[in-house]
Amino acid sequence: DVKVTQSSRYLVKRTGEKVFLECVQDMDHENMFWYRQDPGLGLRLIYFSYDVKMKEKGDIPEGYSVSREKKERFSLILESASTNQTSMYLCASCARTETTEAFFGQGTRLTVV
């Protein structure tokens, strides 16, 4: 079974803290994604990575950065957390093939107080 594992299911952080959300996949997938899920807005792409050290901005990259030093790990970083970053964060990965299916982690519900 493909596994995409996010480091935390629930997280509470204070405004101004630096926050790291980690995602690890075990299927040697080239592509990895970070989404933010909010009611009524669906899944919005923050960043994605198509190879080690390679990244592209998604639709809402402001306030976020990412790191991909190893193929299996993709980290989302909130440099200075703010209350408007309270949300559900989903990581996904997929192979670089034409009929690819994306596999998702279980999500991290982040609350910034």
């Binding site: 994604f33 989404y35 807005l41 299916e101 279980q106």
Partner: protein
Amino acid sequence: AQTVTQSQPEMSVQEAETVTLSCTYDTSESNYYLFWYKQPPSRQMILVIRQEAYKQQNATENRFSVNFQKAAKSFSLKISDSQLGDTAMYFCAFMKGGGATNKLIFGTGTLLAVQP
């Protein structure tokens, strides 16, 4: 830029009946893929069904089938014989084909409740 629109925020269906969820998309690409994903209350997102744009035949997976209308840019999901376990948020998604750096773009979702 590609967009995906789901115009039904919530739907309800009786157990054993059929329901259709709507999705439209906008793209100038000719090579792309469309997906329906399901997110139950457990939050684990799973793939329900996939359609390649170059295939005219509509995809089916057991009780799930799609109506793919390429010219109209419409991609609806039909769930037959609805079961309580089908209660979930359903997301329509789009991915451009033919490249390594293709984003997976989602709609806003439809919350489906299957009533006993």
